[in-house]
Amino acid sequence: MKKRLKLTDISREEDSQLTEIVPDDLIPLPAPYDKPGWPADFQQLTADQQQRLVCNLDGFVALGLPRPRNEAEEKKYTELFISGMNKLLSRENNWTFLQPLLLSLDYCARCQTCNDACHVYVASGKNDLYRPTYRSEIFRNLVSRHARRRGKLRGIFGGKNVDLNWSTISRLYELSYRCNLCRRCAQACPMGVDNGLITREIRKLFSQELGWAPQELHEKGTVLQLKVGSPTGMSPDVLRDNVAFLDDDFSTSIGFNVSTPWDKEGADVLLIHSAGDILSFPESPAAFSILCQAAGIDWTLSSEIGGYDGVNYGLFYDDIQLARIAVRHAETARKLNVNKIVMGECGHQHKALMTVADRVLTGDLNIPRESAMTFLEDIVFSGKINFDPSKNDFPVTLHDPCNIVRNLGIVGPQRRILRYLCPQFREMMPHGVDNYCCGGGGGFSVMSGVNFTNWKVNIAGRMKFKQVLEAFSDRPGPEVKKYVCAPCLNCKLQFRDMFSYYRAGEKSGIKCGGLAELIVNAMADIKQAFISWEE
């Protein structure tokens, strides 16, 4: 029986974990995944790590916050947290999200209608800690007493006061990285309250006021991107070298002469991939090059810093970094004088650049921005390429990246492509704008923390993995090769981690890849199979 968590537990001063996650609590997976290898394969924190790092939440550590050296340091950060809350409520500092934040803080009816919409909460076996309202309500409570007028009165009348101390802020920091920001709960809310937004605002407070952010998102993420060009560390030279290598390699392996254009001024299309694809899923950028070439698109890649990696981790935790990167993207396009920017298969790039940054890209930075989904759909149905769908005659299911589907409403184009090119296409349930997040959203797919990967594959991704298995339940054996089409790099990374953890390739023959690969695989003019099933 699980222990109930009270809101006030977050400020418990003793250095203990708030909750323990045990495999028996989690929702069951279908066979052969019904017997968890965990906790045998669970990476326990070492004594040294427990000594050095804050680990007072759930036994998992995503952030590796160093323990405070003394009380003065605790006090300093607690005070910064208070000033941060005030800045979140100020027009100067937070005009970007002030209205949505206030609406979400002030109008929650505490009806818990959103709870069951959350894949993390449900997959955890309904652990109180992961309830989408748990962190929001705590934050709401803190804000109303420390950053609002009439705070005292609210405090008395509202009851359930949460103490603000080091334990509160350090736990809240870690807890703000237990939500994928998928906003499925916001869809469920009758009031339109958005717990995903509140979570992001909490992360933002920590980043912009306390200077706390996950290394993978900040130092090795946005900072590196602004400096070197990409969070992967790929400089323009390495980038061109890599893509040239891939052009060459794929030309040989599939017998189709691929050549990727660079920095072509006045091109119709500037395609900005998520650069990690080049390193981790090179079939994806190669497929785009092949398709653009075969369809006669006037296109180019950029090798300028800010122009070749479409990721924008700022979306996950920091408005300033978000704006800095979005501006760089748009500047690259303006300099190249292209007609439009086309997103790579990357969900958060879509959302960051197409909508969230829309009101930052003023004047001549407002260059039209197109989704990879409509871009590919146009190519597929242009009649310029001959297809033989029988080449894709294996079970295929489609994962809906939250940022492309739930958040941007791009639902149909990818489906029309798959229905045309994949005879065994089947939907997951639920799908479309009601989909579940893969578990890698909100920056998690690039974060491994200390033992965070364990949490990602066992809890955050559990619902999705279950959905995938169910979509393929008619052909469960590993002898039937199956393809999860996930048109988003972050989703693919999460699937890769999950499939490797559960050994889904070996046990069920499941592989994950993007959309462009399936299109190229169906091209009648390419004799070699493009998709390789070798693990």
């Binding site: 040294d48 590196l224 991107q225 560390g233 400089s235 290598f245 390699d249 080049i278 070798e534």
Partner: protein, 105 residues
């Protein structure tokens, strides 16, 4: 920053045990990492991959694409996993003393 004992020396590593001071790497460090993953002996094939990874990293500041590693060494991916139990990124890079690849990889 955590420390780790490898071949009788202390090294700064990240939370996953990846070396942070690439320049201090020695072949003994690679052997020490390998033995932690129950690989008792490093063969010529291991060294071929490790040396390639290292020299690529020192030149370019990041690890090479797996596809390039495969091409340069002539090993299949399966062979790489046989050599390095946790694969090219999690084992080979670590043994070669270069930082863990990050950023959507």
């Amino acid at each position: 920053m955590p420390q780790m004992d490898l071949a009788g020396q202390k090294y700064e590593v990240d939370e996953h045990g990846f070396m942070q001071e690439t320049s201090r790497w020695t072949e003994d460090v690679a052997r020490a990492y390998a033995s932690l993953e129950n690989v008792k002996e490093l063969t010529a094939d291991h060294w071929k991959a490790i040396n390639y990874l290292r020299s690529y990293y020192l030149q370019n500041g990041i690890c090479p694409m797996v596809r390039r590693l495969i091409k340069e060494t002539g090993f299949t991916l399966k062979r790489l996993y046989d050599l390095f139990p946790n694969g090219p990124a999690q084992s080979a890079c670590k043994w070669a003393g270069v930082p863990k690849p990050t950023g959507c990889v």
